[in-house]
């Protein structure tokens, strides 16, 4: 065997190295030094992220099972940025009394899921893809159950675990039909072998595959676990679950649908995805309106955001890929800003209800300010990054030129207005109901402050710094081979 093939995967190897360093630190260093594990992890991961910027080189290894393109590099870089913010945010929580004993496990599990997502993004063979998917979702179930003292954490973990296994069973059944049709599990071979013949079995297989990945992405009608898991899991894990795992799954979904089933685009999956997108955006929005718990509220908001991300998938082109990556990047920063504020307040006072945020501007003006920017960005109000990401994703979808997609974009636009209503409910509670302050003034921990500053700057700058979108568009245009079979 040619071991130099491993050099094709520098990011995975680097992440493995980070994992090993954290593991060794956690295992062998004396008790006294343990308290600096959080800072150690953040620093090592930051160095790794910076090193990532300079990594490049396209190609395949393991006879085509694994592929690196400039798009996968860019996507992994986006995930790294999000992961770094999550790590910084989690520092305070990880050092709290009940978690500190198991601090090391928390970081190791987080890094292990990220490795699974890397594999998922780069896999070009369904066996490797399934291994990546499971490596990503199994440690997450353990993380959801991390808050042993709270009953909700256990309930959330049980719900997450059962739905995750159920969805992967459905996904693998779909794969077995794909295998029966194509006689191979390599993405490229399947794409060639299923060309032309539109058998009923292919459509059945597609339904199974879409619903299997749809579970991971929490698309309606496979979304029912999302709100419960987001509410029950520790806030650090919820923020990870809502941005990183969703972003990675969205990218992998696009790769599967475009590269493997590209020839069945207009015949089959365009319409399946069409229905799913309309349902996801609308149902997510309507359910978000009635939520009072902020974590549940953000769960439904993230469901509808997943619908917007899917607009980049249905575009099925390089423009769609670029806008999908840009949307995920902006979503990472906006959502993590919101979760940063929620985590800061929850760590201090234990309050997560929307009514508790009344008059937050009076007592904690900076927290209220960051939260406001996050809500504006999620809703897509112009000067902030959320506006640009929505704009690009609509443009990407319109690029297909079909009338049906224009109607879809119109529905998405109307839903943006609905979403504005509930995002502004939070802003209203913080800024207008000044007379009934619930949360006292408190000092935000240093690590949380750093994370909030990074995310807030990201929200303001990402949309304005056009070099970022240019970079992503360039990366996407280099992987045009992915969309060979569409159209």
């Amino acid at each position: 065997m040619d071991y130099s093939q491993f050099l094709m995967m520098p990011q995975e190897l680097g992440l493995l190295l980070v994992f090993l360093l954290v593991f060794l630190f956690d295992t062998f260093l004396p008790k006294k030094a343990q308290s600096s594990l959080s800072i150690f992890t953040c620093v090592v991961f930051a160095l790794f992220t910076i090193a990532n910027v300079f990594m490049a080189g396209n190609g395949t290894s393991f006879s085509g099972m694994y592929e690196q393109t400039s798009a996968t590099y860019a996507m992994k870089l986006i995930l790294n940025a999000g992961m770094l913010i999550v790590l910084i945010q989690a520092t305070k929580w990880a050092n709290s009394e009940f978690v500190a004993v198991r601090r090391g496990e928390f970081y190791e599990l987080l890094l292990a899921t990220l490795l699974g997502m890397y594999i998922m993004i780069s896999a070009r063979h369904f066996l490797l893809f399934v291994i990546g998917l499971e490596t990503a979702s199994l440690p997450l179930a353990a993380l959801v159950a991390f808050d042993k003292k709270h009953y909700e954490s256990h309930e959330a973990a049980a719900k997450y675990m059962f739905t995750a296994v159920f969805s992967s069973a459905i996904f693998m059944l779909g794969l077995s039909f794909v295998y029966a049709l194509a006689g191979s599990l390599y993405f490229n071979d399947i794409a060639v072998n299923i060309m032309g013949g539109q058998s009923a079995l292919l459509i059945v297989a597609l339904v199974f595959v879409i619903s299997g990945v749809g579970f991971k992405l929490s698309l309606v009608p496979f979304h029912l676990w999302t709100a419960d898991v987001y509410q029950g899991a520790p806030t650090a894990v919820t923020s990870y679950l809502s941005v990183i795992s969703k972003g990675a799954a969205a990218f992998a979904f696009l790769v599967i649908l475009a590269q493997v089933f590209g020839s069945a685009y207009s015949a089959a999956w365009e319409w399946m995805l069409y229905a799913v997108i309309v349902l996801t955006i609308t149902v997510g929005n309507l359910f978000a309106i009635r939520q009072r718990d902020l974590k549940r509220f953000l769960a439904f908001s993230s469901i509808s955001q997943a619908g917007y991300i899917m607009l980049g998938v249905i575009a099925g082109s390089e423009v769609g890929l670029a806008s999908l990556m840009f949307y995920v990047l902006v979503y990472v920063f906006s959502n993590l800003a919101a979760f940063g504020v929620i985590a800061a307040i929850e760590n201090k006072t234990g309050k997560v209800n929307m009514d508790d945020y009344n008059g937050l501007f009076k007592t904690n003006p900076w927290l209220a300010f960051s939260m406001m920017l996050a809500m504006f960005s999620l809703a897509g109000i112009p000067p902030f990054a959320g506006f640009f990401s929505k704009f690009f994703i609509f443009v990407g979808a319109c690029h297909t030129g079909s009338v049906a997609i224009y109607v879809l974009v119109l529905i998405a636009l109307i839903n943006t207005i609905i979403s504005l209503y509930y995002y502004l409910l939070v802003v209203k509670a913080m800024f207008i109901k000044q007379d009934e302050c619930v949360i006292p003034t408190f000092k935000v921990a240093c690590s949380e402050k750093v994370a909030l500053i990074i995310t807030t700057l990201g929200i303001i700058l990402i949309g304005l710094a056009s070099c970022i979108y240019t970079y992503l568009a360039e990366a996407a245009s280099n992987s045009s081979a992915m969309f060979m079979f569409i159209h």
Partner: protein, 103 residues
């Protein structure tokens, strides 16, 4: 006597259907786990059968089955651990006991 492809495929799909039915109707979490196991194992049968009947020249489906068995074992172990955690908290493995968070 040579068995046809369908003779294997029908039992495996019936098994999958039983798994889905059990997953939806069972109230005991251990029983739900068993149903999930049925679903995962029917996938393994599918892969093995498709491989040996449709593409006898290669081994890809068999390899997938092998890996899927290992993955299923990992999933079951973790799910059992979570069920034990729930049991310690509520002294029960009934699914109706863990319905505090809704809508």
């Amino acid at each position: 006597m040579e068995l046809s492809l369908l003779m294997y495929l029908i039992p495996s799909l019936v098994m999958f259907g039983c798994g889905v039915y059990g997953f939806i109707t069972r109230k005991n979490m251990i029983a739900i786990l068993i149903s999930l196991e049925l679903m995962l194992n029917s996938v393994d049968i599918n892969f093995a059968v498709f491989n040996s009947y449709l593409f006898p020249g290669q081994m890809e489906g068999m390899f997938f089955s092998l890996f899927a068995i290992a993955i299923a074992a990992a999933e079951t172990a973790l799910a059992l651990a979570i069920v034990i955690n729930v049991y310690r908290k509520v002294k029960n493995v009934d699914i109706k006991e863990i319905t505090k968070m809704k809508f």
